[in-house]
Subunit: 77 residues, 2 copies
């Protein structure tokens, strides 16, 4: 059965406070090569059939908030 992997990320213009906290924690553990961290969601949908128009509709209506988030997807199996 195909799996659709949806990535939902905060729009680049928005401050990612959770990412900032993770970056600070990494720095405290001496991972100083990390310059920036952004945290998003990874949603794996197992579907009976792949209809790209419907997948885009699911993302825009329910999985992502288009006001503050971007989404992309790929069919992986």
């Amino acid at each position: 059965m195909p799996v659709v992997r949806v990535s939902v990320t905060l729009k680049p213009s928005l401050l990612d406070s959770a990412g900032r906290t993770v970056a600070d924690a990494l720095h405290r553990q001496s991972f100083t090569e990390v310059q920036d961290v952004r945290i998003g969601k990874l949603i794996e949908l197992q579907v009976t059939e792949v209809d790209e128009a419907r997948i885009r509709q699911m993302c825009a209506d329910l999985l992502a908030n288009p006001v503050i988030e971007d989404f992309s997807y790929e069919v992986v199996q």
Copy 2:
């Protein structure tokens, strides 16, 4: 500057209650082709240099909980 995209997912044997809730919501909106939903995290690290051993260490120590989560990563830029 390279970007490392880390995917953190719940181990397959564990029940994903958030994913179950999203699947139910999709079904209520008549997206009945969705059989299962799993929700994970997508963490983008902007780093000055890519050292795979250190990236694996960041994942195991801080970004993922190896007791209940799996992780993978790819260098994207």
